[in-house]
């Protein structure tokens, strides 16, 4: 075994390794308290390829990648980089040995400039030891032009869109001359155009002989960009195949260990009376003159690019950011939505887009996360929480949604993203809403869980709930919605009925 620092020196000397694989891990095992996250898995990455990792939430993909990136150390197993045994002790080791990870949750420092973020810890200095900002910017511009990224290096990162931050992260990873780039769901917050841009960058990197590990839940991306696919299930390695030899159904079967015949089991349900009516709703500088009705049993899809104002409309309807003009009526009666508590009192529920920022109470356990919204109106007597009944009902909800956890007292931070999402959905279903607003309900969620959530939403609609669903995923919007409202730059650009809607029409309205 060579030490990470020796390896670094060898690599910088330009020595060529004899192995056909950039990276080989074998028999890797990792346990967390109560969970075997990885059960003797293997994974091999060739240079100049994109290798997709597929698996349901909690299958072990992210854990494996954190081991590759030096964030976790495996309990056992072998780890070879360019044919050499190596043991990485921390993320810095990995970085210096040419392994860079682009995280799902971006790790940039908001108040610092783009250039500062990229070159942090490696800032070019002048002979007095002071940072040479000119040189730093020159290098950033050079890096960006190589990758075809159009971002001003001197602006603060917090002023950038999510997509641009992602580009900066990728550029940063590339700036280390990394051979292995790990991308954990890089497209989850990107629009289609931005995804195309990202794929162009990935192809450039591939041509340079880099190995790219690509974690995703989106099948169409996989067939577009990946050369090889490895599938994991419940912490176990299932198979590795070239993506050209696989079909969508093959992969799903390997991932869930069973056939999923129907991805979007939308039920045909009778549509009832108007429950929620929005007239000329505006929020200064964000959106203007939004009007629509939602009926009982109806699923209204809202499509539009990220940043078009979709989420802001939802927030305003729920009283998070009260409207500057317009009316919101429930069952025909106008209601001033001044706070979420008022919206909830009128039977509304709102699953927000950002699990970490506005969803989870990361320090609290699953039980507490599940009950927090319903405590507003129910399960409380003389100020005391009725714990028995609440625990029972929460447990039923967790079972229905198949939350993967040892018990309800597990801190929610220990769950995978998809399971956290299920907990948040149970939080709102416990309130028995009559109007349910879902903002990206299946973002970052695996196929099996996705179908379950779609079934659930469909069944809620059947029981007469009016549903508003915002989603960036076309198949989801098209598959689930009775009607689709398209937003572009804060204005409604059109409504499409289920029968007439298709991807092209939506994109036309969304980009105008």
């Amino acid at each position: 075994m060579v030490s990470p620092s020796t390896m670094k020196i060898v690599r910088e000397s330009g020595a060529v390794s004899g192995s056909e694989y950039l990276l080989e891990v074998d028999d890797v095992r990792k346990e967390f308290p109560g969970v075997v996250a990885l059960d003797n898995v293997k994974f091999k990455l060739r240079a100049g390829t994109v290798h997709a990792l597929m698996g349901e939430n909690g299958a072990g993909k992210s854990t494996l990648m954190k081991i590759v990136a030096g964030i976790y150390t495996p309990d056992s197993g072998s780890f070879k980089l360019r044919g050499q045994d190596i043991r990485l002790k921390n993320p810095l080791d990995a970085l210096e040995n040419g392994i860079a990870m682009i995280h799902q949750e971006l790790n940039l420092m908001g108040p610092m400039t783009v250039a500062e973020n990229i070159w942090i810890r490696r800032e070019p200095t002048n002979r007095f030891g002071f940072i040479n900002h000119g040189e730093m910017q020159r290098r950033t511009v050079e890096l960006f032009s190589r990758l075809n990224i159009d971002v001003d290096p001197t602006v603060e990162v917090r002023s950038l869109s999510v997509a641009n931050r992602q580009m900066v992260e990728i550029a940063k990873a590339v700036s280390f001359n990394s051979d292995v780039l790990i991308m954990d769901e890089p497209t989850s917050a990107l629009t289609e155009r931005e995804v195309d841009h990202l794929f162009r960058i990935i192809r450039t990197l591939k041509a340079d002989g880099k190995g790219i590990i690509y974690i995703t839940h989106k099948m169409n991306e996989l067939f577009e960009i990946a050369d090889e696919v490895s599938v994991f299930r419940d912490g176990k390695y299932i198979a590795t195949k070239p993506s050209s030899e696989l079909t969508r159904d093959d992969i799903i079967r390997m991932m869930v260990g069973r056939d999923i015949s129907q991805m979007f089991p939308k039920l045909e349900v009778p549509i009832g009376d108007v429950v929620l009516s929005v007239k000329n709703l505006s929020l200064n500088g964000v959106f203007k003159d939004v009007s629509f009705d939602v009926r009982a049993g109806e699923i209204l899809g809202i499509a539009g690019l990220v940043g078009s104002g979709r989420s802001n409309i939802a927030e305003t309807i729920f009283g998070v950011t009260p409207a500057s003009a317009g009316t919101i009526s429930i069952h025909g009666k106008p209601v001033v939505m001044a706070s979420p508590a008022i919206a909830m009192a009128h039977g509304m529920a709102f699953l927000t887009e950002d699990r970490k920022e506005t969803g989870c109470f990361l320090l609290l356990d699953i039980q507490e996360n599940t009950q927090m919204a319903v405590l507003q109106n129910k399960y409380v007597k003389y100020g005391f929480v009725q714990r028995g009944q609440l625990a029972k009902d929460s447990q039923v909800m967790a079972n229905t949604l198949r939350v993967r956890t040892p018990d309800m007292q597990e801190p929610i931070i220990n769950l995978s993203g998809g399971n956290q999402q299920k907990v948040l959905i149970s939080r709102w279903l416990l309130t028995k809403p009559r109007i349910l607003i879902l903002d990206e309900p299946t973002r970052g969620i695996d196929v099996g869980a996705k179908a379950e959530i779609h079934r659930l939403v469909s069944e809620l609609a059947r029981d007469g709930v009016a549903v508003i669903m915002i989603s960036s995923e076309m198949p989801e919007v098209l598959g689930m919605s009775d009607r689709i409202m398209v937003i572009h730059e804060g204005r409604v650009t059109g409504f499409l009925d289920r029968s007439e809607a298709d991807q092209v029409k939506i994109m036309e309205l969304a980009s105008h």
């Binding site: 009950q371 100020g383 005391f384 929480v385 939350v403």
Partner: protein, 356 residues
């Protein structure tokens, strides 16, 4: 919700998905171990240097609990504030001011130098100074919460301002004069009573009652759940329908109320009110909460932990006195122990909270 609710709950204690269950020790265990460790060290050092037992001494145990009772009452309040992600620096000053106000209402007619609020306001029923103290504390706490909720300034700044202002009020109230010779019926609350030859100070009983009530409130009521929610993620709390401003006013008012109670106890015990009372009590209270596992980042903390943290501070103080360590050295070492206790606890927490 019809069919969705058809799945049934598994038997209690059975795992949801067949994943092995994790055994969780209550977070207080490690801090209790620290307390026992410190007590044992003093016990051994006691036999070695002083030639007597540290713990087996009724008088000493009584003093330990009496010393911590007042800061303990404050710590129980400030723990709740810290759980919301805030902090309350004004409690020590409140003790000074409210002790003065309570004392002024508890004067005895036999005192020739009574400080008159109005002619004849002496020999009042002790219920008046006590209620006035509690109400004034709750009011000042409420103002803290109101300031934070409406102006959105950091709690540190709001309560720092309050700390300075209220200390000023304490001095202004009698222009710096202490109020002494309080009525026996009032000072009764600060005295000890005898339980089988063991002197139990009444403030200690008050501390225990307050701790139990607040523990129950934090653990079993909606008030408690919302307190943790706000500290854990204010944005998520807002979207969950929690009115953060209202809740913060409640929490700071409770903390103020408890500071008022601590002030009344201090005045009763000292049989006087002095404008300099309670200086730096807020820091002892915060230290007790933090030693007890409360996170200054909010969302984490329990009254049981704070209770043990308070006792640790008391044991350390009286242990040093017992070993005849000079007062200067005491402070130096006390600071080190506060930091060390938190470092140990945090290390353990991190090990427990390894994420996957």
């Amino acid at each position: 919700m019809g069919k969705i609710m058809t799945a049934t709950a598994p038997e209690t204690g059975k795992s949801l998905t067949g994943i092995t269950k994790v055994r969780r020790l209550p977070p207080e265990v490690s801090i209790l171990a620290v307390l026992l460790g410190i007590a044992i060290v003093f016990e051994i050092l006691g036999w070695y240097f002083v030639g007597e037992s540290f713990l087996a001494n009724k008088q000493r145990l009584s003093i330990i609990v009496l010393q911590v009772a007042v800061t303990g009452i404050i710590a129980v309040g400030v723990t709740q504030v810290i759980i919301t992600g805030g902090v309350d620096l004004s409690s020590g000053s409140m003790v000074g001011f409210i002790a003065m106000v309570a004392a002024s209402l508890a004067q005895s007619a036999t005192n020739g130098r009574a400080v008159y609020l109005a002619q004849g306001w002496v020999d009042l029923n002790p219920i008046f100074p006590i209620l006035a103290g509690l109400a004034l504390g709750a009011l000042i706490g409420f103002v803290n919460g109101w300031l934070i909720a409406t102006t959105k300034i950091p709690p540190f700044i709001a309560t720092l301002g309050m700390m300075v202002t209220v200390r000023g009020l304490a001095k202004w109230y009698t222009l710096g004069q202490p109020i002494a010779l309080l009525h026996d019926r009032f000072t009764w609350f600060g005295q000890s009573f005898d339980v089988g030859g063991f002197p139990v100070p009444r403030p200690v009983i008050v501390f225990l009652i307050v701790a139990v009530i607040c523990h129950v409130a934090l653990t079993y009521t909606r008030y408690g759940k919302f307190t943790y929610a706000i500290g854990s993620n204010p944005q998520a709390a807002r979207v969950s329908g929690i009115n953060i401003g209202h809740h913060l006013m409640k929490v700071y008012a409770v903390a103020g109320l408890l500071s008022g109670l601590a002030a009344v106890m201090t005045a009763a015990r000292a049989q006087s009110g002095q404008p300099g009372m309670g200086v730096a009590y807020e820091l002892d209270a915060i230290a007790a909460a933090v030693i007890g596992g409360t996170s200054l980042a909010g969302g984490v903390g329990r009254i049981t932990g704070t209770f043990i943290g308070t006792i640790i501070l008391g044991v350390v103080t009286s242990g040093f006195t017992f070993l005849k360590v000079g007062a200067y050295y005491q402070e130096i070492v006390k600071g080190v122990i506060i930091v060390a206790a938190v470092v140990i606890d945090q290390h353990r927490q991190n090990k427990r909270r390894k994420t996957s």
